[in-house]
Symmetry: C2
Subunit: 241 residues, 2 copies
Amino acid sequence: MTAEIKAVARQHLETDGANLSLRGVARDMGMVSSAVYRYFASRDDLLTALILDAYNALGETVEAADAAVTDRSRLRARWLAATRAVRRWALAKPAEYALIYGSPVPGYAAPPDTIAAAARTPVALARILADAHASGTPPSTRLSAAAHEDLAAQLTDAVRADLARTRDDVVPGLPEEVLLLGITSWIQMFGTVSLELFGQFNNVIDAREEFFDQQMELMADLMGLPPTRQDGGGRRSEGGT
Amino acid sequence: MTAEIKAVARQHLETDGANLSLRGVARDMGMVSSAVYRYFASRDDLLTALILDAYNALGETVEAADAAVTDRSRLRARWLAATRAVRRWALAKPAEYALIYGSPVPGYAAPPDTIAAAARTPVALARILADAHASGTPPSTRLSAAAHEDLAAQLTDAVRADLARTRDDVVPGLPEEVLLLGITSWIQMFGTVSLELFGQFNNVIDAREEFFDQQMELMADLMGLPPTRQDGGGRRSEGGT
DNA sequence: TGTACATCAGTGAACGCGCGTTCACTGATGTAC
DNA sequence: TGTACATCAGTGAACGCGCGTTCACTGATGTAC
């Protein structure tokens, strides 16, 4: 019942964006508008439910994509699978993506329940990095030694404190510089998906899937995730030659 | 006259987001709603004008910030000045930023005039990278040699073609891998600003200015922009000790 | 098996509101002679 | 200096529409005895 309303509302998101009309949803369900109030106390309540669902659907998708890599030690494959899952989900449900990662809805304040759901995807990604660190992968094989040394020296106390707080919550034991590279990669992933989806790649990048993969490979390099087959020194070897 | 309408409309953006009301703007100007039609043919026309203005205002800000670095060879300082200008502008005018870099307005299609204006900021940033290349800075001093070699090998034909097209338009002569790192940095910059502005840093990053600076320093490392004072090997030295 | 009653999903009318756009108009300002 | 006329910024009423939310209600379904 409430699930059906949400399903119709999700369709409306595609055309109306966040200024979703409760009356329009009711109309499409063959109901009178006041009937919706039996299921949702207000339009904002419906919106909140959609936001929560979107965060959870994305989180679930990412978790599943990561879990589908059966050899858990293939850390780069896990990273690529998880980030590709984000992009694929965003392309499949652009309105839901925009709802959670786009501009805030004017006049709408997300209730605190959404915070935990919002964390689901970043936490899934962080777990991959934590596994990499636990398995002894040297942090960032791809940054030069000098750059890596600098990275730690460069951190101000305030940023370090932020990192330490998240570290303790999510990935205990991970060095702050490593977490920093993880957050950098997280930003790069959402930045790439958002710029593509919001139209900033028009007339610049046409090969979007390949470009995304390339960016995520670069981020894997940055985080020091080992090449998928550990046979080639620093060279990636999956997919030919 | 039209400038005043746009000024009031910009204030409305702050509260209403993109579902800006033409009647509301007229009301605030002490005019009757139909009077606005003497200056803008429709609500969408007004929106288009605001989008154009926003792209140009941001572009101008970035160009000015770059130009303010009088020693043009201080490439890292120019990069930091330009990217900080983006963030500062976005924080000062969040609604205008959301209008151009947030989720697309439902039912609104940006006319082609906006494309040239949209390019202004990326072009200003690309120029810094082109100057770095022209002055003989080795591309990406901070990636390990193996990683940098990989970067070129990793590019597929399609991505390479995209890069070549942009290169020929904007920064003739720049190697594709170097442009790629520039685009990566461009994405990182807008990703960081957007995630901050759209609320994804809540409960994660509090020291936002310092964090942003750190990310942009990292990107400068990635692009191989030399440290601000060329006296310290690989170590950054501006700002003490 | 049959009646009385409670539950509750959905109705329909109404509230007060705001919107974009049109159209014939007023009335001040400026120009031409 | 004075009159006649054109320009044009802004008015006011109206069009048809949609919205979120409320409230008293109907009528089917299910439960209790």
